[in-house]
Amino acid sequence: MITGWTDDHEELRAVVRRFLSEKSSTEKARELAIAGAVGDQAVWRQMAEQMDLQGLVIPEEFGGAGMGAVELGVVLEEMGRALYVGPYFSTVALAVQTLTAVGDRAAQARWLPRIAAGELTATVAIADDAPSFDLTAVTATATASRDGWSVSGAKAFVIDGMTADLILVAARTDGDLGLFALAGDAAGLHREAVPTVDETRALARVELDAVPAVRVGDDATQTLARAGDLAAAALAAEQIGGAAAALDMAVDYAKMRVQFERPIGSFQAIKHRCADLKVQIESGRSAAFFAAALLDDGDPEAAIAASTAQAWCSAAYTKASKENIQFHGGIGYTWECDAHLYLRRATVSDIVLGAPRAHRARIAELVEM
């Protein structure tokens, strides 16, 4: 197993960082968020055509680059830094990784090449009343008939649910738990935007009234657990990128802002809190990296590592984004300052795949405490 980033990873990081700084800066995120847009079509196409980012973790046989969770983590860390607005997390971290985890070759052949080409966006909804992968919180039902499956129920917080071309939902059948694919514009599917504190990430409520569906894989209980861990590791990387950007912003400001005839960054009251954040963030980077690396390796420790990363990185992001506002003083409280954009993203990210407490509870279970 690799135990750290290689030169190739650093190169990928640099390329993605440059691309995002040119095409999708935080100013762009702000514009898109205010306009209520869920992304920029032109940027999305460039990501697919020039950078092959949508195909990053798609196997080569389905038109992708065949990379793993570690590489996806590098990309998402950069997207987190830039507060990238667009359906990348939902399409790649959630839908692509779920399709590869569930391992239904027909489904993969049908959708993955189009995702890799940037032609199709997708998302995943597991728990009914939360955007988590908590399989115990699935009550939507799927019924088989002569014409195929149909799904009924509701999913309350679907990431990019308003715009996704393909929605993968978990539903109970007579005997087990299944994963079902629905077209975003299918008959019987009603969707409605859910306004949250983070306007850079669109959530939607999706109501399903006997929506025609395609079953993906068989009993998905085991495979969805891995998909959830992959999603958790991916979000952790995105969160730590956001936390690192918030700290960078705070440090830059503390170097420049003069009060009492000296830069505020020379006061220990500021320094020590920046140092504590650095400790938390570097440990979070280790956590997100190892969650991804252990998942790529199929290591038995991977599930604990994924929840470890999710619990730790959620807390790190929330802390860093709050401290960034505090260090900016009155400026940090204004709408014009980007600081609140990070706090908003952090607040939703904190619970979007399960709250830190839920992940700690899962760790306690997994280590048989």
């Binding site: 020379s266 990296f289 470890t308 760790i363």
Partner: protein, 397 residues
């Protein structure tokens, strides 16, 4: 990764797995005897065990072979540290081996190396660090212990404090002032002082745990041969920063293994007492579980950075603060979790595991003070890693 080992005329290649097996086997064949309760017996037990390790070439993982060390590759040092922690080998007596040894290796004369390095590893000579003074802790360049030249000797006068295990010491490695007080770090000399020389008085200091782990050391006209100076006169300050950075990085894995074991023992205790069903206790224990895993991940990342780039990278500068905070909070929580049973000392019949958690609670107060306070650690991270400006009230470095 493999390393070539030269044994006479035969050249063998040993893989990391073979190396681990060999180290583990040695510790299995040479288990430390049960830890004696009597302090004096315990000291000779520690010394005897380290002498045995030295004679079998099982000490000084990063030290060059010519000075009695093992001359291991970095990857092997990491393996060695993990096995060392698992074998529960007692720590050597004295302090600062990782600081004084590289200083002597880098700046010492051949004669000094011959005289001190082997006996240091074998624990024939117990070494202690004499840097801190009553008025010079975190602000070390303020030190006042003086050394005046007289023929072939320095005559040393002054006081050191917080000298850990000074009562065991045969030798102190110290910083003394040979320049004016105002010269600060430009007038400091590095001296090795014989603890048994006339004029040296060691007075144990009782610490917060009730134990006597450190002492005050007084120098009253102590005559130190010039030959026992490391480096040049007034040029001692840069030597302070010499330490085996990479050995410390490998040691991070030793600590991760060690705290893994301590946390497992705490979880087992909580389970025995039926506390793991309490949601709050469970949440806190899970948080420690997260942190002990992060300790290992951080250590692995540092090790990767050293192997890949030759440098320990950003994770290394933060890992010490991470570990000290963990150590303190873990023991604080253990005492809290044990409730009334947590506050009684080892002399009480209610004491749990001979009061180890209470001792750890008190003892770990030192982890954010010793070897540079957490405040100094934070300043270092803020200034050297994040590039924040220096406090103008502080003198120039």
């Amino acid at each position: 990764m493999t390393q070539q080992i030269e044994t006479g005329t035969v050249m063998t290649i040993e893989s990391d797995d073979e190396f681990r097996a060999r180290i583990r086997q040695w510790f299995a064949d040479n288990r430390p005897a049960k830890r004696p309760r009597d302090p004096a017996e315990r000291k000779s037990w520690v010394r005897a065990y380290h002498a045995r390790m030295y004679d079998a070439r099982m000490t000084g993982p990063s030290w060059p072979l010519e000075y009695g060390g093992m001359g291991l590759s970095f990857a092997q040092q990491v393996i060695y540290q993990e096995e060392l922690a698992k074998a529960r080998v007692p720590s050597p007596l004295g302090t600062g081996l990782g600081i004084v040894a590289p200083t002597i290796i880098t700046y010492g004369t051949d004669e000094q190396k011959q005289r001190w390095l082997g006996p240091m590893l074998r624990q024939d000579l117990i070494w202690c660090q004499g840097y801190s003074e009553p008025g010079a802790g975190s602000d070390l360049p303020a030190l006042r212990t003086t050394a005046r030249r007289e023929d072939d000797f320095y005559v040393v006068n002054g006081q050191k404090v917080w000298t850990t295990h000074a009562t065991d010491a045969d030798v102190f490695f110290t910083l003394v002032r040979t320049g004016t007080q105002e010269s600060r770090q430009k007038g400091i000399t590095y001296l090795i002082i014989d603890a048994h020389a006339p004029g040296v008085t060691v007075r144990p200091l009782k610490d917060i745990t009730g134990g006597e782990h450190f002492a005050e050391v007084f120098f009253d006209d102590v005559r130190v041969p010039i030959a026992d100076r490391i480096g040049e006169e007034n040029q001692g300050w840069p030597l302070v920063r010499t330490s085996l950075g990479h050995e410390r990085a490998a040691g991070a894995m030793n600590q991760a293994t060690n705290y893994r074991r301590i946390l497992d023992e705490l979880i087992a205790l909580a389970r025995e007492r039926g506390l793991t069903t309490d949601p709050l206790t469970r949440d806190r224990l899970a948080d420690f579980e997260i942190r002990v895993r992060l300790m290992k991940y951080n250590a692995s990342r540092i090790i990767n950075d050293i192997i890949a780039h030759g440098e320990p990278g950003p994770a290394s500068s933060v890992s010490r603060l991470f570990i000290t905070m963990f150590e303190q909070e873990l023991h604080e929580f253990a005492v809290e979790m044990l409730g009334a049973d947590g506050i009684v000392t080892r002399d009480s019949e209610r004491a749990i595991q001979r009061g180890r958690w209470l001792t750890g609670f008190l003892g770990s107060r030192a982890s954010t003070i010793g070897a540079g306070t957490s405040e100094i650690q934070r300043n270092t991270i803020a200034e050297q890693v994040l590039g924040l400006p220096r406090d103008p009230a502080m003198p120039a470095r």
